[in-house]
């Protein structure tokens, strides 16, 4: 059987919702295991005290990236059937900045706030209400902002296309970059721990 299974008709829409629930359980489980149900653990990333956000995120990206790359290289998976979102460069840069600010102000991101809510964090409940209010405000403002939101649509753009490099080479470079970032993160954490100890 070829992957992605759903796209090859292995199961229907109703069953896909069961799959969604099961995958969600795995997602939530590992987020909580990593400590991402705690806003202080998450925001420590931005004070250089605990760089778990970077470590977990890049390990997850590298794991899934290598999996997808090797499965399609071995002919077991048709990567062209996997949903690939288009690039809207300027709105995505603006949205990323807002998200980063919101992360430090609010303490969570939408996914981690659900895990925090599930483990009893009252602040996560207020965060979730805030996300809902923000999306409602965005929806109400949609007629006015859709021009900006739909600007600079560059289509399905990949990093290999941007840099004019082969897919496999970019995969390799991302792995090297991630390993470098992990090494840097470990060094930085030790340095900060020494500084804290000295104060």
């Amino acid at each position: 059987m070829s992957a992605p299974f759903f796209k090859f008709g292995a199961f229907g829409d109703e069953a896909s919702l069961v799959v969604a629930f099961a995958i969600g359980i795995g997602f939530g489980f590992f987020l909580e295991r990593a400590g991402f149900g705690s806003a202080r653990k998450l925001t420590d990333q931005f004070y250089f005290k605990d760089l778990s956000v970077l470590k977990v995120m890049f390990t997850a990206i590298v794991t899934a990236m290598l999996g997808v790359f090797y499965l399609s290289w071995m002919g077991l998976m048709d990567l062209s059937l996997v949903y690939f979102g288009p690039t809207w460069l300027v709105p995505q840069i603006a949205g990323g900045l807002l998200l980063g600010i919101g992360f430090v102000v609010g303490g969570y991101c939408p996914g981690t706030s659900m895990v925090a809510l599930a483990t009893g964090k009252v602040d996560a409940l207020f965060f979730v209400l805030g996300v809902t209010a923000g999306i409602f405000a965005y929806g109400e403002a949609w007629p006015a902002i859709q021009g900006f939101a739909n600007a600079t649509n560059l289509g399905e753009l990949t990093l290999p296309q941007v840099f004019g490099l082969r897919y496999g080479l970019v995969v390799f470079l991302v792995v090297v970059m991630a390993l470098g970032a992990f090494k840097g993160a470990e060094v930085l954490e030790r340095k900060m721990a020494r500084k804290e100890g000295a104060v």
Partner: protein, 194 residues
């Protein structure tokens, strides 16, 4: 003393305020690289089984669109932002892939927390901010993130993790900006956390 030691080892700052020390012994968190591999395999499973990545903010959008449609159907139907979500579910706006995935996230997070002794009603904050201040900022940060996630067509899950693993240019630009925005803001918000 064993409880105090375990808590102190887990989070020395929580122990310092004196009030939260006497809680049930919580297990330490998983090694971040191991948790990352676990998360990556879940994401890979989504790609392999479904042909799509993970998400979170999209489920909130479905919820908002459904609520607006309940309260003011004509208003909702006249707005393409809402109709996109109203028409995406399998017959009902909430019968949507991401809505079910996020329900799973709640259950998975609860299970992991329960097994580790980490389910406890609390407000996460540093010692230098009031509870009311923290809850206000949590709401404000959430609202900023709601707007940001919609502009970017996804949040940390849908863009950074899923798009990042597929080497999407927009996702990587987004991810760099999330870190930039966070680090640029951290100094101003230090009293909330440190």
């Amino acid at each position: 003393m064993a409880i105090l030691h375990e808590t102190a080892r887990l989070d020395p700052r929580t122990a310092a305020d004196g009030k939260t020390v006497a809680r049930r012994e919580a297990a330490p968190y998983m090694n971040p690289y191991l948790a990352g591999v676990g998360l990556g395999l879940v994401l890979l499973a989504a790609f392999v089984v479904m042909g799509r990545g993970l998400g979170a903010s999209g489920a909130f959008s479905s919820l908002v669109a459904w609520l607006v449609d309940l309260a003011a159907p004509a208003h909702a139907r006249a707005n393409s932002f809402y109709t996109d979500y109203l028409e995406s579910g399998a017959g009902h706006p909430l019968k949507d892939w991401l809505v079910f995935e996020v329900l799973g996230v709640l259950v998975g997070g609860f299970l992991s927390g329960l097994l580790a002794g980490r389910v406890r009603r609390t407000v996460e904050k540093g010692p230098r901010i009031s509870t009311r201040g923290r809850l206000t900022l949590a709401f404000a940060g959430g609202a900023l993130m709601g707007v940001g996630a919609k502009l970017a067509r996804g949040c940390t899950s849908g863009q950074a993790l899923s798009g990042g693993a597929l080497l999407s240019a927009g996702s990587w630009a987004f991810m760099l900006m999330v870190f930039a925005g966070g680090y640029a803001t951290a100094w101003f918000l230090r009293r909330q956390w440190q």
